[in-house]
Amino acid sequence: MEIAIAVAVILVLLLVLAVVVQRKRRSGGVIAADTRASGRGRGGKGR
């Protein structure tokens, strides 16, 4: 019985950890790219 409970707790913890990691992987931001470092100017133009 105790073993079953321990396994269930570990599975829940692993699931929570997986959700946290996946949220971190998918999280986005607003990135400033210093294009002077790459020697480029304006990156793209609409068509």
Partner: protein, 202 residues
């Protein structure tokens, strides 16, 4: 290129937006990061996630040149093949460029005054979208009300270096507290800089 004329929007609103193909009407990706260049404050494009919660970051990116239309609810591209251009300009910019997430970065003026922290970046979306302002919070100077946010206009060339984002001290005279009236503030600020070019030293 089809966009709502001169649409002002927060860059973080685009994060998570679906990337939809016009030919098949299929959502092929989601926006992960919004990427802009500091040389001319131009929107360079987007990094992408696969669709769905289990989808991770994609190797492909979407350069602005490949975007057919950008609206409040989706980013439109002609075909799914537009994501496969590994040698496109956004990838090239990413390879050689120093880059950083500007959200939560500190904003200081060229007079050494701390204005606050960036909570969002304002984009002016037209044929050639560009970054025109920061939304900032945590400012004791500009937002004495706790938790208040204001919009500050930016010059046409930005300074992003080290830990802080540098802006001309003159932005204090062109602060706006709502996005609707912010476009006029940006125009007045840039006119001011053109008339006093010595202030545009950032």
């Amino acid at each position: 290129m089809t966009t709502t004329p001169s649409l002002l929007l927060r860059a973080t609103e685009l994060i998570g937006h679906p990337v939809v193909t016009i030919d098949a009407g299929e959502a092929v990706a989601e926006v992960k990061d919004v990427v802009y260049g500091t040389t001319e404050a131009a929107l360079l494009g987007f990094t992408l996630n696969n669709r769905g919660f289990l989808g991770g970051p994609m190797k492909q990116v979407l350069a602005w040149a490949r975007v057919a239309a950008l609206g409040r609810h989706a980013v439109m591209i002609a075909t799914a093949g537009d994501l496969d251009e590994r040698d496109d300009v956004l990838v090239e910019d990413f390879k050689g460029a120093r880059r950083r997430n500007v959200i939560s970065s500190e904003v200081i003026t060229d007079a050494g005054e701390r204005l606050g922290e960036v909570t969002d970046v304002v984009l002016l979306v037209d044929a050639e979208p560009e970054v025109v302002g920061y939304e900032i919070g945590g400012s004791e100077i500009l937002t004495p009300r706790k938790g208040g946010h204001v919009f500050i206009p930016l010059p046409e060339t930005l300074a992003v270096s080290g830990e802080a984002l540098m802006v001309p001290a003159a932005v204090r005279d062109f602060v706006s507290d709502d996005l609707a009236g912010f476009g006029a503030s940006v125009e007045r600020f840039r006119d001011h800089l053109r008339r006093s070019p010595t202030e545009q030293n950032t």
